[in-house]
Symmetry: C2
Subunit: 334 residues, 2 copies
């Protein structure tokens, strides 16, 4: 397999954390990796191949402008490595918008895809299969046809990544009935419900779902526009964090509570790991002509290992080819 | 004070639960109450006044149609009692859409209000002041001018209900910068940021906020369209429920964990009460010409007591008069 191109720059914890994850993926999982970044900034790469890039897009850069101006930045070079057949996939934990723009501009879209979408995984406590949410923020305004295509791409991804046989695809609305929601949602509902729409993708449409279904196993793929999807993601991140902090504070509120809590740690640890965003490694930009993983800016080395593994798995599963087939076989999107 | 009209019909737990809450509010808090419903269905009313209504709007009725057809339903009669000066406020735990439509059609809008909005309270662990979210579902599609007005109404409500001196009003978007979000959000941002916009309402605009701020004290009033607001509300409800269930399951996963958990109950109880939706009693329909509290369909007697107390408090605080002044003093909304 061609190496996975890992953008080593621009993440919150600095290049050392990314390099540590890349080294671990190479030595422990045997996945070939090429680091992309400023060679002087990378520290000990443990012999990993390095693709030199002189510039860095940072978190505050305007994504589209930065990708145009900083042609020798690590994130742009990582996308070019995939385009040029020097890498099998890219992983970036830097500026999300820049990773998206680089992938879109350098790799291009899969034929037939109207807009790429960011697919994130939401943990479902007690279930090995998380819920996939897309679009989580690539397109803040969407057409109904794009949403219908997100449904196809999400179904292919759920099946390629988690082995779901016939992924249940739901449309985010504010009530179960087809009559609920905005004009956009009603129109997308009609497109997703067309007989045969999912034939090439292997999923099935289960109608509208609501925000409350996100962390449950009621649905495999939640389709929505990038504004609503990003709001759902941030609301869950914030809500879980607030609640966990409040519980931890209560657990430390007295000596007696502290002792009781220590006895509970073994029981709570599996849930903690399930809910930890690092467990899933990153989001997938679906619809570009190559595998592109966008990791959280705060990613730990463990998150990077998981992102590289995900990238390699999706290359091996030929995710891009399966997306191309599903989109190509589908009815006209509008 | 005129009595609070309590719609006794159409809630999930049946009239007995509502009547129990109404009796408790009357006897323990001394708040005058008139029950509205089918006299035979109410059971022992403990001597509370009853306003007879022969019809019931149930949870599955189409709201607008039901309000037109069922003119003698309890929810319509409750709204009429406020309009006719026989009651000071209405409380309903029945069909939300029907309560909204009844209030809007029978009480009308406050002069100058373009659209009423549902304001819900989101608990902030450790803080006595929750976050107010509006619109939580009254208008799935909104104009920027409506959102700007929701900001005013939310500020007045935060101040009338929680005594917040200068409520911080944030606009829900997917990034802090004014350039982030949909065209609607950018336009609303410009309207909310106009100098003098909040002069009559007493709040101040702090710019964009994100879903992650909902359960924190970073903001007092979160403004958004009814689709996004409802998605935030349902996502939080579902997320908190899923997480709490998973924690409870972990706490019961072994004999040792069970014992440790029992010792933790006193420490966790205050948080549990804070997070319990019944604590806040209900949502407020802001912008109609009367006090209208919309409680959750699953409301317990405790939730109804809190809703009736909230109604009485908002009548005493002259919420409607303060909203009228704030909206009347504001610049043109668009």
């Amino acid at each position: 397999m061609l190496p996975v191109a890992v953008d080593a720059m621009g993440a919150d914890r600095g290049p050392a954390e990314i390099v540590a994850g890349a080294r671990q993926a190479a030595t422990e999982l045997g996945i070939p990796v090429v680091l992309v970044g400023q060679p002087d900034a990378l520290g000990d790469t443990g012999g990993l191949e390095v693709l030199a890039a002189s510039e860095v897009v940072d978190m505050h850069d305007d994504p589209a402008g930065a990708v145009r101006r900083k042609r020798d930045s690590s994130v742009v070079k990582a996308a070019e490595a995939v385009r040029d057949g020097r890498a099998s996939a890219m992983v970036s934990a830097g500026n999300t918008g820049a990773a998206m723009a680089s992938a879109l501009l350098r790799m291009g879209r899969i034929k037939g895809v109207q807009r790429p979408a960011i697919a994130t995984t939401l943990p479902v406590p007690g279930s090995p299969v998380p819920t996939i949410l897309l679009d989580s923020g690539a397109n803040s305004e969407c057409s109904a046809a794009w949403l219908a295509q997100f449904g196809l791409m999400g179904a292919v991804y759920a099946s390629a990544r988690f082995g779901v046989a016939e992924p249940r695809v739901g449309l985010v609305s504010i009530g179960e009935e087809a009559s609920k929601g905005t004009a956009l949602v009603k129109e997308a509902h009609a497109l997703l419900a067309r007989p045969g729409w999912f034939d090439g993708a292997g999923g099935r449409f289960i109608g509208n779902v609501e925000g409350r279904d996100a962390l449950t196993d009621a649905v495999d793929v939640m389709v929505t526009d990038g504004f609503t999807g990003n709001v759902i993601l941030k609301t869950l991140e914030g809500g879980v964090k607030t609640l966990v902090n409040a519980i931890v504070a209560a657990m430390n509120s007295s000596e007696e509570a502290k002792q009781a809590s220590e006895a509970l740690v073994p029981a709570l640890l599996p849930l903690y790991i399930e809910m930890d965003p690092d467990t899933y490694g990153g989001a997938m930009l679906l619809g570009v002509d190559g595998v592109c993983i966008i990791s959280h800016g705060k990613s730990s080395a463990r998150a990077i290992v998981n992102a590289i593994k995900l990238a390699a798995d999706m290359v091996a599963a030929d995710l891009v080819g399966r997306l191309r087939d599903a989109v190509g076989q589908a009815l006209p999107a509008d």
